[in-house]
Structure formats: structure tokens, C-alpha cells
């Protein structure tokens, strides 16, 4: 009967250890705990042969029967039902033996050999079943391991996916903020560009202002000189009149009066001249877009080349330049935005002055700077050429000249916008701008404007 108790203990221990004792319900855990204690206690008392044999045998069979019943009826041990069957033959043999011994002891001796043999076979059966069960359990365990591994892999994949998603989100927000920064930089650049264009406009106005100042100063000097002279003459006439009427020099007085009269005309003439110049300055500095109007290109060239020249002369580092106007008087009025187009002349003239200044500084004093303006009436177009005999433009940078911000001037001398804006203005007039040059000899800007 001790074997039965070992079986009881073994069943409980084996199930608890290898089939997830932790996952059992508290109730089942309690059954297992007390079952193991009971089997242990029975084993100890069985070995000590203390209790009456009949009671011990009965309790042992009751316990093992209960355990087998528990295994079969617990849903948590569904898969271990086979295990319950394993010791069943042994238990049956012991039950029969117990019943025979208790109730029919007279037949016990007669059947003992059979029962021993049956017990032996039952043990073999049990071991076989148990091995079988173990094998099953092992493959089950492998399956479980595989599915566990799969689960782990799935979990890892999920984790990795989340990590990737997090990274993607991080990168996305990074890119978004970079995009915002770039957009901001772009906006900044755009406003800077606007400012530069405005500055270029102001610079050409500044260049013009010096020329205008000079151009106004000339007539003003005349006005001052002539009015001063007239005053002197009037004083002289006055003192003459105070003399003895007998000694009056009538001829002299009439001469003086004639001069005063002519001086007044001169003053008016130079006043009008100054007024005209101020008006043309206002035209240039006006903030709003100028209008397209039928314009005399030749007089525009004359006026602005002159202003540019005097502007250059009045600014630092003036140079002596011969300005030649070779203008075709047959060209008809051209539809021009005079305010814009005057900047074309100013810019190209200033460029030529700067280039020729470089040449003056580089070569001997034999060099005589010369800037020529030519206009020519072509069939449906008007040609305007501005040619200087400066250092010329090397072929490799000729294409770049019209690009914004390209400048050969060092430091803060040039914005690099003058020619680019000039080109834009010519284009907006439906015209074309070409550059011809020979290094060391000349640079020629050719502008073709449509007549209509």
C-alpha cells in the first residue's frame, strides 16, 4: 500500500512541478497542498506501521481515488487526463487485493499469485503509460515552446514596429521643423531680396542725386551771379542818378539797364532749367510704378548719361571720360517706362565708368576713357548701343554678368544686382540685351527695343 501513497504523492508533485502549478486556481492549489501533505503523512505512518493495516489501506486507496477523480474532473488538468489513467490498473489491483483481504480472506491465498502478477503487469503498464505520457507532454512542451517563441517573436516584431513608428514620427517632426525653418529662411531671403532691389534703386537714385545736385548747381550759380551783377548795376545807376543832372552819363545808364534786363531773362532761363531737373528727379524717385508713355529715347539718353556723368564726377574717385552721343534723330518716340528705362542707362553708364576706372588705375596715363551712346532706327526695332573702351569682359564671365548677385567688384562696391535689374527692365519692355566685348579693347551692350 505504500506504493499507492508514493503514486499519490508523485502524481501531485509531477503535475504541480511540470504543468504549471502557478497557474492553478487557489482552490486546486489547496487540494494539491493537502493532497501532498496527506500522502506524505500516510507514507510516513505506513512505513512506521503504526495505524491498523485496514484503516491505512482504506485511507490510501481513498486518497489515490480522490486524486484520480480530481485530475479527471479539473478543467485546468484537461490535458493530463491520460496521467490519471496511468496508475489506475495498479490502484484496481490494490483495491481487489484490499477487498479480498478484508472480506474474503479465505480466497486471498488462492488468488495472491494472480494478483501479484496482475500488479506486476499493472506496474509495467503504468510505467509504459507514464513514459508515453511524458513523450506526449514533451512534444506538447516543444509545441508550446515553439508557440511561445513565435509569440516572443511577434512581440519583438511589434516592439520593433513601435520603435520604428516612434523613429518615423521623430524624423517626421524633425523634417517638419526643418521645413518650417527653411520656409522661414526662404521668407527671410525673399524680404532681403526685396530690400536689395529697393537698395539698388536707392543706390541708383543716390548716384543720380550727385549728378542732379551738380546739374542744379550750375543754373543756380548763374542765377546767383546774374542777380548779384544786376544788383551792382542798379546800385551804380542809383548813384549815377544822385549826381548832378548835367553830368548824367545817360549812355552808360542805358547800357546798365539793358544788362539788368538781359540778366533777368537769364535768371528766368536758368530757373526754368533747374526746375526741369528737379522734375526729372521726382520722376525717378517716385515710389509707384512709372507709366509707359511715348518717349523720346534720344533725349532720355542725353539727360541721364549727363546726370550719370556728373554723379560720377561728384562722387569719390571721379575719372575723366569723354562722352560721345551718336544718336539717330530719325527714331520715332518709343513706348517706354521712362522711370525704369532711365535706370538702364544709369546702370550701364555707371558700370562702364567703374570698368574704365579700373583700366585707368591699371594702365598708363596714355589711356583716354571714352563712352559712346549710339541709337539706330532699324525696321521694326530701335537699336541702342552703349560702348566703353574699358578693360572688356572675359568670355568666361560674360554669361554670368546678367545673373543676380554676380559681381566682379570687391567688398561692398557692388550689389551684383545692377545688370540683373537692367536686364529685367529691358525684358519687361519686350527688348533684348546682348553683351559684346573684346578684352583690353571694349565692352558693348546692345539693346534692341520693339517700336510698337
Amino acid at each position: 500500500m505504500i506504493l499507492v501513497n508514493i503514486i499519490s504523492f508523485f502524481l501531485l508533485y509531477y503535475l504541480k512541478k511540470f504543468f504549471g502549478g502557478e497557474s492553478f486556481s487557489p482552490e486546486l492549489k489547496r487540494y494539491f497542498k493537502w493532497g501532498m501533505i496527506a500522502s506524505g503523512a500516510l507514507f510516513v505512518t505506513g512505513v512506521s506501521e503504526l495505524p491498523p493495516k485496514l484503516l491505512f489501506d482504506f485511507l490510501s486507496l481513498l486518497l489515490v481515488g480522490g486524486i484520480i477523480f480530481l485530475i479527471i474532473n479539473s478543467p485546468e488538468l484537461e490535458k493530463q487526463k491520460n496521467l490519471a489513467v496511468t496508475p489506475l490498473p495498479i490502484v484496481v489491483v490494490y483495491v481487489v487485493r484490499f477487498l479480498l483481504e478484508t472480506f474474503l480472506p479465505q480466497y486471498f491465498d488462492k488468488f495472491e499469485n494472480y494478483l501479484t502478477a496482475a500488479g506486476f503487469f499493472a506496474i509495467i503498464w503504468a510505467v509504459t503509460m507514464w513514459l508515453n505520457h511524458r513523450k506526449e507532454m514533451k512534444s506538447l512542451q516543444i509545441e508550446r515552446l515553439i508557440s511561445k517563441e513565435k509569440e516572443r517573436q511577434l512581440f519583438l516584431a511589434q516592439e520593433r514596429k513601435q520603435e520604428l513608428e516612434r523613429l518615423v514620427q521623430e524624423r517626421t517632426s524633425e523634417i517638419l521643423s526643418q521645413k518650417e525653418e527653411l520656409q522661414e529662411a526662404l521668407n527671410h531671403l525673399k524680404s532681403t531680396q526685396d530690400q536689395l532691389v529697393q537698395q539698388e534703386k536707392l543706390a541708383s537714385l543716390g548716384q543720380l542725386t550727385a549728378g542732379i545736385a551738380h546739374e542744379i548747381k550750375n543754373p543756380l550759380n548763374f542765377i546767383n551771379n546774374f542777380s548779384e551783377l544786376s544788383e551792382d548795376f542798379l546800385v551804380e545807376i542809383e548813384s549815377e542818378l544822385k549826381k548832378d543832372p548835367e553830368k548824367l552819363d545817360m549812355e552808360n545808364m542805358l547800357d546798365l539797364l539793358e544788362d539788368v534786363k538781359s540778366n533777368m531773362k537769364k535768371i528766368r532761363h536758368h530757373g526754368t532749367r533747374a526746375d526741369k531737373i528737379v522734375k526729372s528727379m521726382l520722376l525717378h524717385s517716385r515710389g509707384e510704378k512709372g507709366e509707359y508713355k511715348e518717349t523720346d529715347l534720344n533725349s532720355l539718353i542725353g539727360e541721364y548719361s549727363n546726370l550719370a556723368f556728373h554723379g560720377m564726377r561728384a562722387n569719390p574717385n571721379p575719372i575723366n571720360v569723354e562722352i560721345v552721343l551718336n544718336l539717330d534723330q530719325k527714331i520715332p518716340p518709343i513706348n517706354l517706362n521712362a522711370e525704369d528705362f532711365s535706370r538702364v542707362i544709369l546702370n550701364l553708364t555707371k558700370n562702364a565708368f567703374d570698368a574704365m576706372r579700373d583700366k585707368i588705375n591699371a594702365v598708363s596715363s596714355e589711356y583716354k576713357a571714352k563712352l559712346e551712346f549710339r541709337t539706330k532706327d532699324l525696321k521694326d526695332k530701335v537699336l541702342l548701343e552703349i560702348e566703353d573702351n574699358g578693360p572688356g569682359v572675359p568670355e568666361e564671365i560674360r554669361d554670368k554678368l546678367l545673373m543676380p548677385f554676380f559681381t566682379t567688384k570687391k567688398g561692398t562696391d557692388g550689389t551684383g544686382l545692377g545688370l540683373s535689374i537692367t536686364h529685367d527692365i529691358v525684358k519687361s519692355h519686350g527688348g533684348t540685351l546682348e553683351i559684346e566685348s573684346k578684352v583690353g579693347e571694349f565692352t558693348r551692350f546692345k539693346i534692341l527695343l520693339p517700336k510698337a
Binding site: 551738380h214 537769364k266 571721379p318 575723366n320 569723354e322
Partner: protein, 128 residues
């Protein structure tokens, strides 16, 4: 005594004539005008041995500049005094003018008193 004024602004002639009215009237001074460097040289050449003693020339003129005229006069008629009149008192022109032998350098607007003084000096020199 004869002086010559060279300036592309025509009204300068009237201005000088009026300014030196008395001197001209009393024949103390004779004033000749040229409206370009080329004209000035031509006029100086016509007189054979030029009786012009002093030339006042503008620098910025179309065609021949005042500085070129100065060089030409100094080369051909070294005895004639030449002074420059310029709207711009820039150093480059001043240095160039003095180096080429200019006697004086006046900036516009011309201070007629100093000009008169210059001419009076000439006149007294001549009278002595």
C-alpha cells in the same frame, strides 16, 4: 592785356563781360572766349604770336577736356598762364592740373573777387 575764358556754358561769357565791365571799357582788359578746348587752341593759333597772357578754362567739357587743353597750351605757348575752373574740387584733378603747370585752381561757383584779385595782380605786374 588779353585773357581767355574757356567754358562750354555760353552764359559764362556774358557773366565775365559784365563782371569786368569797367576794366574792359577802360581797355585795361580784353577778354576772349572759347566754348571748347579745340576752339581755344584754334583762337590762340590764329593770333600768330598770341597776345593772350592768361587762360581760364573749365575742366569738364565735351570733347577736349580742360586738362588736355592745359597740356597743349603749356607745350605750345609756355609763357601763357593757365588756371583751371572746375565744379569738382577733387584731388585727382587738382594734382593733375598743378603737375601740368596750372597757375591756379578755382572751384565753381567762381569767387569773382579772388579772380579779380588774380587779374589785378597780373595787371600790376604788366604795368611794372
Amino acid at each position: 592785356m588779353k585773357i581767355m575764358i574757356v567754358d562750354d556754358e555760353q552764359d559764362v561769357e556774358i557773366l565775365f563781360v559784365q563782371k569786368f565791365r569797367k576794366e574792359i571799357k577802360s581797355k585795361l582788359l580784353e577778354v576772349e572766349f572759347a566754348f571748347s578746348g579745340e576752339e581755344a587752341l584754334r583762337k590762340l593759333g590764329e593770333a600768330g604770336s598770341p597776345d593772350v597772357v592768361y587762360v581760364f578754362s573749365d575742366i569738364n567739357m565735351p570733347g577736349m577736356s580742360g586738362l588736355e587743353l592745359l597740356e597743349n597750351i603749356k607745350a605750345r605757348y609756355p609763357k601763357i598762364e593757365v588756371s583751371m575752373i572746375s565744379a569738382y574740387g577733387d584731388k585727382e584733378n587738382y594734382n593733375k592740373a598743378i603737375k601740368s603747370g596750372a597757375k591756379g585752381f578755382f572751384t565753381k561757383p567762381v569767387d569773382f573777387d579772388s579772380l579779380k584779385h588774380e587779374i589785378a595782380e597780373l595787371l600790376t605786374k604788366k604795368l611794372n
